[in-house]
């Protein structure tokens, strides 16, 4: 089968940030994404949570360039103050044109 290499960017963040993150991801040029509810604990231990919802996990498949563009935005606007982590990995997809 004919597969293409793309980048999977996973962002795990406090649920409160959902709308803002979606906006940032769209702005950077991603065509789509998947959001699931997530739970866990990290270096910040607590979030506004409890009354406002736990975490969300956003998965975006994009090319390397857009993934890095999103990471830059995360680094500037989100990492300093919010509970957010993000990581990249390589994935193989069919129908590359769906993603980029």
């Amino acid at each position: 089968m004919n597969t293409h290499n793309l980048t999977l960017l996973v962002i795990i963040a406090e649920a409160l940030l959902k709308d803002r993150l979606i906006h940032s991801i769209r702005d950077a040029g991603a065509k789509g994404f998947t959001i699931t509810e997530a739970a866990g604990e990290g270096s910040r231990q607590r979030r506004v949570g409890e009354l406002l919802g736990d975490n969300i996990k956003i998965e975006v498949i994009v090319n390397r360039e857009i993934a890095e563009r999103i990471l830059v935005v995360l680094q500037q606007d989100y990492f300093p103050h919010f509970a957010v982590i993000a990581y990249l990995s390589d994935v193989q997809v069919v129908r590359e044109e769906k993603y980029v």
Binding site: E14, L16, R20, V48, E50, L51, L52, Q76, P80
Partner: protein
């Protein structure tokens, strides 16, 4: 009903795994707020608008004073950072709907039916917004200013919070769940009036079993959340604990006094006092988190939930009631 709250705290203290599902919590808060708005609207539909004028002005004055007094106290006496002081001030400037309901119940139990003015829920919605807005504005402007000085000194970039436009914050506050439910319920209440309300009265009326039961469950959940916050009191520090008790008393006295100036009866003065004294924990936390992310959530959530809310529920409400009786009687 206060026992349900205490029970919730006890459950956390004995480390019970009891937890109210978040969806139920959300449903309960939607139900309570909507019922509150609806009943308020029904009452408004047959009351005089000019009766409302002075109490409404008093409420807006309270809404402008409480965030500023909170901010100044925290910043100058408590030596909190600009963001933390403004974040906490936003909570104390806004109002807790559950404290409102509990106070109304307390007054009705003591003075009987009709002792609280029917337009009080309208005042609740009026008080919800300005407090948060003013405190956030203080915070955002204060940070922007200190960032300018810092930037010229060290060249570090400005904080993210200053990037959010005032328009976005306004939209967020006006479309927040609590605001939409209260206002929407009120509009529907005004339109349908007594006759229309009669068909849903058993479900939505504050005097019915359904509402009381939901409120009791909600208080249990509040107890659980407050209980899990108790361990944070250590981080909060003694100043915040004192602040969480003294500030409500001052604001409560202010509310009762302004209420009496506006011509409210003792029951309504008590409710206005409790509204001024209460700290929001539904509308304010997300607004503060989004706009002033530099503020530490432990401070504002602990102060509002683990200190001020229980204090008002147990001691504050009876105290404001006494104040109101003393002031209005003389």
């Amino acid at each position: 009903m206060v026992l349900a709250f205490a029970f919730g705290i006890v459950c956390r203290l004995i480390k019970s795994e009891l937890a109210i599902p978040r969806d139920l919590y959300t449903s309960l808060s939607i139900y309570l707020l909507f019922a509150l708005g609806l009943k308020g609207g029904v009452e408004l539909s047959h009351s005089e608008w000019k009766e409302l004028l002075w109490p409404a002005i008093a409420t807006i004055v309270i809404g402008c004073i409480t965030p500023i007094s909170s901010y100044l106290t925290l910043r100058h006496l408590g030596r909190f950072s600009i963001a933390d002081a403004a974040g906490i001030a936003a909570h104390y400037g806004s109002v807790s709907a559950v404290t409102f309901i509990a106070t109304e119940k307390f007054v009705l139990a003591n003075l009987g039916e009709g002792s609280v003015a029917p337009f009080m829920p309208t005042l609740l919605t009026l008080l919800e917004i300005p407090g948060i807005q003013i405190a956030l504005a203080i915070g955002v402007l204060g940070l922007a200013k200190s960032n300018v000085t810092k930037e010229t000194a060290s060249g570090t970039p400005a904080s993210v919070s200053s990037k959010r436009s005032m328009g976005a914050i306004w939209h967020e506050l006006l479309t927040a769940r609590s605001m939409v439910l209260l206002v929407g319920g009120m509009v529907i209440g005004i339109i349908v009036g007594y006759d229309g309300f009669a068909s849903v009265k058993p479900f939505f009326d504050k005097g019915e079993w359904m509402f009381k039961g939901a409120l009791t469950l909600f208080l249990l959940e509040m107890g659980l959340v407050a209980g899990s916050r108790l361990s944070d009191l250590r981080h909060a520090g003694i100043f915040l604990i004192i602040f969480g008790i003294v500030m409500p008393i001052m604001h409560g006295a202010l509310g009762v006094y302004l209420g009496s100036l506006a011509g409210l009866d003792a029951g309504s003065c008590t409710v206005l006092g409790a509204m001024a004294a209460s700290a929001s924990y539904i509308a304010a936390p997300p607004a503060v988190r989004m706009t002033l992310p530099e503020a530490n959530p432990t401070f504002y959530l602990t102060a509002a939930l683990a200190i001020t809310f229980p204090f008002n529920l147990l001691f504050g409400i009876p105290l404001y009631f006494r104040m109101a009786l003393a002031i209005v009687a003389t």
